[in-house]
């Protein structure tokens, strides 16, 4: 316990100062608070690592009012990563249905935007946009945490 306390004292605040200006909320009702449910529709795992980093101590997306939640019922936005595989297209649609309105979909990563290198591959149903209405996109393979944080700030407007 003392060890931990010493570490806390030594490191202080590790969150980096915010980059760029505040965004504008896409939906006025979600100003300042957006709960996010992350759905892996067929990702390689790269985007997940970056999302983890974006919500970690260094980038701290939570300070802008976003929070990862465990149930789509609690969510306002879906953070979808990866191409939509055949097996995941129906669950993805059901997840979207489970979210109470108003709701948003963010396609994270190149695969989610336009299938990336998996375009036309067997077992791929399409990009996220082919299954759900996408409200925001984050480019990159994988996208940098800053880009994800910027997209999140675009949702919350903070």
């Amino acid at each position: 316990m003392l060890n931990l306390w010493r570490k806390i004292r030594a490191h202080g605040r590790v969150a980096e100062p915010p980059v760029g200006g505040r965004g504008y909320p896409l939906v006025p009702g979600l100003r300042g608070s957006v709960q996010v449910r992350h759905v892996d529709a067929g990702s390689c795992g790269g985007c997940e690592v970056e999302i983890g980093a974006a919500f970690g101590p260094v980038y701290d997306a939570e300070r802008y009012g976003a929070r990862l939640v465990a149930s789509p019922r609690h969510a306002d936005a879906l953070l979808v990563t990866g191409v939509v595989t055949r097996n995941m297209s129906e669950p993805l649609r059901r997840t979207y249905d489970a979210v109470p309105a108003p709701k948003l979909v963010v396609a994270v990563g190149d695969c989610a935007r336009d299938c990336g290198v998996f375009k036309g591959a067997y077992g791929v149903a399409g990009a996220v946009g082919d299954v759900l209405p996408v409200d925001a996109e984050v480019a990159g393979c994988p996208p940098r945490p800053e880009a994800i944080v910027a997209a999140v700030r675009g949702l919350t407007g903070r």
């Binding site: 009702g29 149930s71 789509p72 019922r73 995941m88 129906e90 669950p91 993805l92 059901r94 997840t95 249905d97 489970a98 109470p100 309105a101």
Partner: protein, 661 residues
């Protein structure tokens, strides 16, 4: 002839007439006749009880009715209370039986003995002499045994339950007989001054005899067998009225006949009560048979009542008469409250068993759709049973805890050791009973049906619902305005002290600080609920409610097999109380023939046997059997040998007589 006497006579008369009528009438009319007779006898019983409770005692001598001693009846306030409670249980049970019996098609004798059973229970507290009590007690035991066996042709397990019940109830009878004979027989209403050792023996025997009727651990083994297997109105009568008579017997012998007693008596009662309460509710929490669960809950509640009795005895012994009155009042209120909610629970559980065809909680569920009224009835009963406000058990346990807490200062070493432990036991019981009834109501009535029977279950007929409604109304009165009955109870308890609780809306303890208003609490919660609901409706930017699929993680629809079952619900508690419950679990893994690493099937078994039964009764039964086997060699079947035994015995007796004289 005063009101008490005539009403009691009316009850017995109505019951006898109804029994005769059932025996004479064709099958179609029997249920209505038996039910109506029981309900009317119960109503007359309530009148008699209330009359005795409000100060119209009576005594009646019928010298010719029984050879040698005759029958002596009499009722004081305490008897009146128990007569009233028994009658009040008989009314809803009778109303309910008219519907229940019609649908389950019970035999002539089972119908005929129902009103007689009710009448015999009304007579037990009214017995004024030892022999009269024993006669009424035996009548009650026999009629109830016939009721338990009512469905034995259809289900073999009924016969086994009946055997257990018959043996246990007669062992209990023998204990009571011995106790009353040692005490010298005669009037039960007069105080007997016996030498300390003899008085102790009498009390322990009476405690064993009456305690076995009340289902006290370790004499409870018959209760979770017989109560579930009987038809549900009989379960209600047994579990809500008959067990009370065990409590009555303990109060009558302990406080009345023996006039208080040594401290160890009441410490014993308190310890037995605490053990019964915790053990009963633990077994109930593990049980997935709805009626067995309720049976074990009866053991728990009688345990709580005994905690109250034990505390009352302790306080009376140390001269804290106000606290003794408070503890006894709490015990009596718990008796009344338990009678109300257990009637309600057994009646609704019976409707479920009849309509869904099963009592297994793991196969029920989703009944709120098909049986909304029964579901509401069970919910109300479960709330009353689980010591949460606004329920009757909450009020009586509050009173009990108040007595225990105020008894600590100046109570001496015994009080300082016993009372905190008792509070902990009562609190653990309260917490576990909340978990148990959340399990029973949640998995039995909510969620989705787990079997076809539960899915098809339709609402019970009007007469059965009417019975439940009566019991539910009694629960509501006892839970919200207990002040309406408490003065009467306090007077019934006045054999130890003056009234201990006052006030209609707000209960105030007299002689100790403490007040509670269940009505105000309930109203406050209701008001805030309504305000919050209204506020949600007028909220700006409100959106319409939308129906949606259940969130199934995006996979296919959730089937009923994926629901949490009652067994699963109780699993954490089972693990926590592993050392107490000693559950039996086993896992069999069947591998594929091709490779040992691939599993074809996994079978998991779990059973939570009654550990007391396992440890106490089975060795005893085995010993009896061994003795029997040993004795068999003496009885080879030869008539000459048997005659010889008689001859040897006579000769031996003569020799002994000669020598000793």
């Amino acid at each position: 002839m005063n009101l008490t006497e005539s009403a009691l006579g009316l009850a017995v008369g109505v019951a006898a007439l109804a029994a005769l009528a059932v025996a004479a009438l064709p099958g179609r009319w029997r249920p209505a006749c038996a039910g109506a007779g029981t309900a009317l006898a119960g109503a007359a019983g309530v009148a008699a009880g209330v009359a005795a409770l409000t100060g119209r005692p009576f005594s009646l001598s019928l010298p010719g009715l029984l050879p040698l001693s005759g029958l002596e009846f009499g009722a004081d306030r305490l008897s009146g209370f128990f007569i009233a409670v028994t009658g009040a249980v008989a009314v809803p049970a009778g109303v309910y039986a008219t519907g229940y019996l019609r649908h389950s098609g019970t035999s002539r004798s089972a119908c005929a003995f129902l009103p007689l059973f009710a009448a015999s229970m009304l007579l037990v507290p009214a017995a004024a002499w030892a022999v009269t009590l024993l006669a009424c007690w035996e009548l009650m035991a026999l009629t109830s045994l016939l009721q338990v066996l009512a469905e034995h042709r259809r289900r073999p397990e009924v016969a086994e339950a009946g055997r257990w019940y018959a043996v246990m109830t007669h062992l209990g009878f023998a204990c009571i007989l011995a106790a009353l004979m040692l005490a010298g027989g005669g009037s039960l209403l007069a105080v007997r001054h016996l030498p300390a050792g003899l008085a102790g023996t009498v009390f322990v025997l009476a405690l064993a005899g009456f305690g076995s009727k009340a289902g006290i651990v370790p004499l409870h083994a018959w209760l979770p067998r017989a109560h579930p297997e009987a038809p549900s109105h009989v379960s209600a009568l047994m579990s809500a009225a008959m067990v009370n008579l065990g409590v009555y017997g303990i109060i009558r012998t302990g406080f009345g006949l023996l006039g208080g007693g040594a401290r160890w008596w009441w410490l014993l009662v308190l310890a037995l009560g605490a053990v019964s309460a915790v053990y009963g509710i633990l077994q109930a929490a593990m049980s997935s048979d709805l009626k067995r669960l309720l049976g074990y809950s009866t053991t728990e509640n009688m345990g709580l009542v005994l905690v109250g009795l034990g505390a009352a005895g302790l306080f009376a012994g140390t001269g804290h008469r106000v606290l003794a009155g408070l503890a006894l009042t709490a015990a009596l209120l718990h008796v009344a409250g338990h009678a109300a909610f257990k009637t309600l629970l057994f009646l609704s559980a019976g409707a479920v068993a009849q309509r869904a065809g099963t009592r297994d909680l793991d196969a029920l569920g989703g009944l709120r759709g098909g049986m909304p009224a029964t579901t509401a009835a069970f919910a109300w009963g479960a709330l009353a049973a689980s010591a949460l406000p606004p329920g009757t058990a909450f009020v009586s346990e509050w009173l009990l805890l108040q007595a225990l807490i105020h008894g600590l200062p100046g109570g001496g070493t015994a009080a300082a050791v016993v009372l905190p432990t008792a509070v902990a036991a009562v609190a653990l019981t309260a917490g576990l009973s909340a978990a148990t009834f959340v399990k029973a109501f949640g998995t039995g009535f909510l969620a989705r049906p787990r079997s076809d029977g539960a899915a098809r279950a339709a609402e019970a007929p009007g007469s059965m619902l009417a019975g439940m409604a009566l019991a539910g109304a009694a629960c509501a009165v006892l839970a919200l305005v207990p002040g309406a009955v408490l003065p009467a109870l306090a007077r019934a308890a006045a054999m130890t002290a003056g009234p201990a609780v006052a006030g209609l809306v707000t209960l105030r303890l007299s002689g100790a600080a403490g007040e509670l208003s269940p009505l105000l609490l309930a109203l406050a919660v209701l008001a805030v609920t309504l305000v919050a609901a209204g506020w949600l409706r007028v909220l700006p930017g409100r959106r319409a409610r939308r129906a949606a699929r259940l969130w199934d993680c995006g996979a296919g629809p959730l089937t009923a097999r994926m629901e949490y079952t009652a067994t699963a619900f109780a699993e954490p508690l089972q693990r926590v109380f592993d050392d107490v419950l000693a559950p039996e679990t086993g896992i069999d893994v069947t591998h594929l023939d091709e490779a040992r690493y691939l599993v074809a099937a996994v079978e998991y078994r779990r059973r939570v046997p009654d550990r007391v039964e396992r440890r106490l009764y089975q060795p005893a039964l085995a010993a009896v059997r061994a003795w029997g086997e040993a004795g068999r060699r003496l009885a080879p079947g030869s008539v000459h040998r048997y005659l010889g035994y008689g001859f040897y015995a006579v000769v031996a007796l003569l020799i002994v007589l000669t020598v000793t004289r």
